[in-house]
């Protein structure tokens, strides 16, 4: 760790200096000062923050002791010594650590109602975007665990599941305010036990309803379901392409019927939508790669992918990412061959690997999940940290915006009191777009007041219940 810090420090310094020159030099040094001063007077100054004296783990540019300047929601400068704009809000992070906001590539929080539209094997017509619940307390808890961005997925009950989207954990904003602007939309696919058992009265646990079994009930059937869906999608795409060509040629035609199930699949064929495929076993991973090759689309990420280490070469060759668990195994029959070295091995074969949570609780300590990759497989500190920051950002196609601490990127930053990959580290502050969304001190001091408010309401309710007489029933 120390070695890394020393050798990279100079480089990031020069980068910072270069950026500074580029952005302000036209007016010379005095001009820069004047500019800084004028900004300090403008209302925008409220959006300028400096994090001082921290150990900064940038992920892409090493680790250094220094400061970060945040301006207008972006990282304006990172370095040992920075130009602190006058009037900037200062966060003294002496003895503390700053990492890029954690990104969870597989989450189901902030969803109203079921995360599964389990009635059909192809539920691509449903969209998580329609049921974002910005008031889900899991968002706040994820934030308190250092997560700033999460890929919110449909469940795994269907071979082809619902549409997914990327959210920032901007606790307090409305549904639209959470959406990661411009992030590529996705779709959930699922292979193996979940999609074959869901909707299958014989296979589903606790199934008491006598109903028609949903196709498919086997892994063969899942492949067939996906192929059938893409056959339909191709025909649908052809129908629209023909229509669009004719309309472009001046013909007046009734457009084909818009099919919400096939629209997202058409987008996949056009490369406008990412596939995040839930999977466990090596055979099903290979199956999906073959299907994708046959139909000419790409799998963006394999999710969970616990046997990914067996087919890492093939995953890398396809260009897919892998988002896995650190050390979960044996929780179901298809997870028997899981090993904690999975992430490290896949990475060694050139796969972009991330650690995901799939769970609101695990989501709160993804930093230690990343740390496990150092213990199992011996990846470096930076590589481990990248598994919950830069790598998921790459998998979601948002690494131009987030995933590392670099000038120009979104100021999504997490301040830990101790070494962030340790169990003992606690998140102190979380910034998203430069705004403070979580402050541990504030939260802790506010707890008593919230508890009192709650107790007041409970007492009031109890009092009312006692005072309330039983409703009179005249005539009864």
């Amino acid at each position: 760790m120390t070695k890394l810090k020393i050798c990279r420090r100079d480089r990031s310094l020069t980068v910072a200096a270069r950026n500074r020159r580029q952005s302000r030099d036209p007016q010379g040094a005095v001009g820069a000062l004047l500019l800084a001063a004028s900004i300090a007077i403008a209302p925008l100054s409220a959006q300028t923050t400096v994090i001082r004296n921290a150990t900064i783990m940038t992920v892409t540019k090493g680790t250094l002791k220094g400061s970060i300047v945040v301006k207008d929601g972006k990282i304006a400068e990172v370095g040992e010594k920075v130009m602190e704009p006058a009037g900037a809000k200062v966060i003294d992070a002496g003895g503390q650590y700053v990492i890029p906001g954690i990104i969870d590539c597989h989450s189901h929080i902030a969803v109203d109602g079921s995360v599964n539209e389990g009635s059909v094997s192809v539920s691509s017509m449903v969209d998580i975007k329609d049921v974002i619940n910005p008031e889900d307390i899991a968002i706040f808890r994820a934030l308190a665990g250092g997560v700033t961005t999460a890929n919110i997925l449909h469940g795994s009950a269907n071979a082809i599941g619902g549409q997914t989207l990327v959210l920032k954990m901007r606790w307090g904003k409305d549904a639209q305010g959470l959406i990661f602007e411009g992030a590529m939309p996705g779709i959930k696919f699922a292979l193996g036990e979940n999609p074959k058992r869901a909707g299958n009265p014989q296979g589903g646990r606790g199934a008491t309803v006598v109903a028609e079994a949903r196709y498919p009930a086997t892994r063969m059937g899942i492949e067939d379901t996906i192929r059938q869906a893409f056959n339909e999608a191709k025909a649908y795409k052809a129908e629209w392409d023909t229509y669009n060509a004719k309309v472009a040629g001046g013909e007046h035609l009734i457009p084909p019927r818009k099919d919400l199930k096939l629209e997202p699949l058409k987008e996949i064929l056009e490369g406008k939508r990412y596939i995040h495929a839930h999977c466990y076993r090596a055979d099903e991973i290979l199956m999906l790669i073959r299907v994708a090759d046959d139909y000419g689309f790409k799998i963006r990420t394999f999710q969970h992918v616990l046997e990914g280490y067996k087919v890492a070469k093939e995953i890398a060759a396809h260009g897919a990412g892998a988002s896995t668990f650190s050390d979960w195994f044996n929780f179901k029959v298809e997870a028997i061959d899981a090993i904690p070295y999975n992430a490290a091995i896949m990475q060694k074969y050139g796969v972009v690997v991330s650690m995901n949570s799939d769970d609101a609780e695990l989501m709160r300590h993804l930093n230690t999940e990343a740390g496990k990759a150092m213990r199992y497989g011996g990846v470096s500190e930076t590589e481990a940290l990248a598994m919950v920051t830069l790598n998921p950002a790459k998998q979601l196609g948002i690494d131009n915006r987030v995933g590392s601490i670099e000038t120009g990127k979104d100021a999504d930053l997490v301040i830990y009191d101790k070494y962030p990959l340790s169990d003992f580290a606690k998140v102190q502050k979380v910034l998203i777009d430069g705004n403070l969304y979580f402050d541990r001190d504030q939260d802790v001091t506010g707890r008593a007041a919230r508890q009192a408010e709650k107790q007041k309401l409970l007492d009031k309710e109890k009092q009312n219940q006692q005072r309330q007489q039983p409703p009179r029933r005249p005539g009864a």
């Binding site: 079921s114 389990g118 059909v120 539920s123 969209d127 457009p255 919400l260 309401l457 005539g475």
Partner: protein, 461 residues
């Protein structure tokens, strides 16, 4: 000619409606709602309409006179979203949650045709849809709740089929007894009732029908409107020139959607209000939101105001569950909602949002009175409470030209009370529906049947 009042009272002892040529309520305090209160005046009703109202209105010689000294006359109350008069509705509930596979099947309304008997495999099977169903065609005049509700001062209900996602089209009906259903209808159709749960089903998972989730229901509704637009396009093209063109298949689900000029969308929580307002805008439909439990939150009122969307606020105020596990800790939001829900009407009024109150399963006069009183105690002015149960629902459904206030030419729906309406001690003396006079029935104990409790439109847990 003047008929002695005692003789009249004898005649109407059985609470059956009288049909004299004209009725005059005189010397009463008249709360017109649309105009100033007349401290002492007369209302004359003839042929089911208000013939005259004012402080100096002469009693016509042929009118039956009701001595109003010490009484107050109000416009008949309107239930802005009801199932009164709908067959079998008392046994149904839309509280099905469609959540994480936890819902138990609820019995479907016996008299309502089931949308589909087999499992729906997608939007094309038109699941849980009876959009073509019209409340006006389904009225059951023998619904016992009609008399109960009337005894609470309700003369009108905007009643809907409520089973399914596209449940069907409502009707504004007058709460008459012993008349033909056709005579009860004031306006039809009044809009399409939409819910986000199937009102049954198995949560979608284990062999359930599509849709089994809120997002599934939303996707389905979106597809229906896309299909309806396409259907209309094709139909119009075919009507222009059928030669050489394949005839479009008749789709009653889409027909029902196309003829609905406004839709009712469920939204209780702030999150849902935001979601449904956006959804209505996306669908380009005039929408009325119902439920509105969290509309006490200022953000909700702002959203509604900005969207200029009318809202129906449930009178079924949230209460602490009676059989809750005492170990369970409820969230601050849940507690806050229970504490403040009844202040929503006052807040909406202040924000300038058009709103009406609706019974939401309450039908006993005492329960309804108490529920309205709760809103008044939480800051709603008495006259605004009255408006939310008279002129406002009439405006929302476009029938303010005939209902909702005591004005010359409007339908003769009145409630005459001793004491101010919504007060605990107040007694309803007479109710006039279409000019027909009723006396309130003695309050009967609840039958157990409760109408649609919009506890969870669109999974509100």
């Amino acid at each position: 000619m003047k008929i002695p009042l005692t003789a009249l009272l004898l005649l109407c002892a059985c609470a059956a409606a009288q049909e004299p040529s004209a009725v005059a309520v005189r010397n009463a305090r008249i709360v017109t709602v649309s105009g100033p209160v007349i401290d002492k005046g007369t209302v004359v009703l003839r042929r089911g309409l208000i013939e005259a109202v004012g402080a100096n209105v002469a009693v016509p010689p042929d009118a039956m006179v009701v001595e109003g000294e010490g009484l107050i006359v109000y416009p008949g109350l309107i239930d802005g979203l009801s199932t009164w008069g709908m067959p079998g509705a008392a046994a149904t509930t839309t509280a099905g949650r469609g959540g994480r596979g936890q819902t138990t099947p609820t019995p479907s309304a016996p008299a309502m045709p089931a949308a589909t008997s087999t499992r729906a495999r997608g939007p094309e099977d038109r699941p849980a849809t009876t959009s073509w169903l019209k409340a006006a065609d389904e009225i059951s005049p023998t619904d016992r709740r009609i008399e109960t509700a009337r005894s609470a001062g309700f003369t009108t209900a905007v009643t809907f089929p409520t089973s399914g996602i596209f449940a069907g089209q409502g009707a504004v009906i007058d709460l008459l007894s012993g008349h033909k259903p056709g005579e009860m209808v004031v306006a039809s159709p009044a809009g399409q009732y939409i819910s986000l749960s199937r009102g049954g089903g198995f949560g979608g998972g284990m062999g359930g029908s599509f849709p089994g989730s809120v997002m599934g229901a939303i996707a389905y509704i979106r597809q229906i409107y896309l299909d309806a637009a396409h259907y209309q396009l094709v139909k119009e093209a075919y009507a222009r020139d059928p030669r050489g063109m394949t005839r479009p298949e008749y789709d009653r689900a889409l027909e029902g959607v196309l003829e609905s000029k406004q839709i009712l969308l469920p939204a209780n929580r702030l999150v849902e209000i935001d979601r449904m307002l956006r959804f209505a805008a996306e669908l380009k439909q005039r929408a009325i939101l119902y439920g509105a439990r969290e509309s006490y939150r200022p953000e909700a009122a702002d959203l509604l105001k900005k969207a200029a969307a009318p809202v129906l606020v449930s009178l079924h105020w949230p209460e602490a569950p009676r059989d809750a596990n005492p170990e369970d800790v409820e969230s601050l939001r849940t507690l806050e909602t229970r504490d403040q829900a009844a202040s929503a009407p006052a807040l909406l009024k202040k924000a300038g949002v058009l709103f009406a109150l609706y019974s939401d399963g309450l039908d006993q006069p005492h329960d309804l009175q108490r529920a309205v009183k709760k809103a008044i105690d939480a800051g709603l002015a008495r006259e605004d409470a009255l408006r939310a149960l008279t002129l406002s629902p009439a405006e929302i459904y476009g029938v303010a030209d005939r209902l909702g206030s005591i004005e010359k030419g409007k339908i003769a729906n009145l409630v005459v009370t001793k004491g101010e309406l919504f007060d605990d001690q107040t007694k309803v003396q007479f109710i006039f529906v279409d000019g027909r006079k009723y006396t309130p029935a003695a309050e009967t104990p609840a039958t157990g049947g409760r109408g649609p409790v919009t506890e969870g439109p669109g999974v509100n847990q």
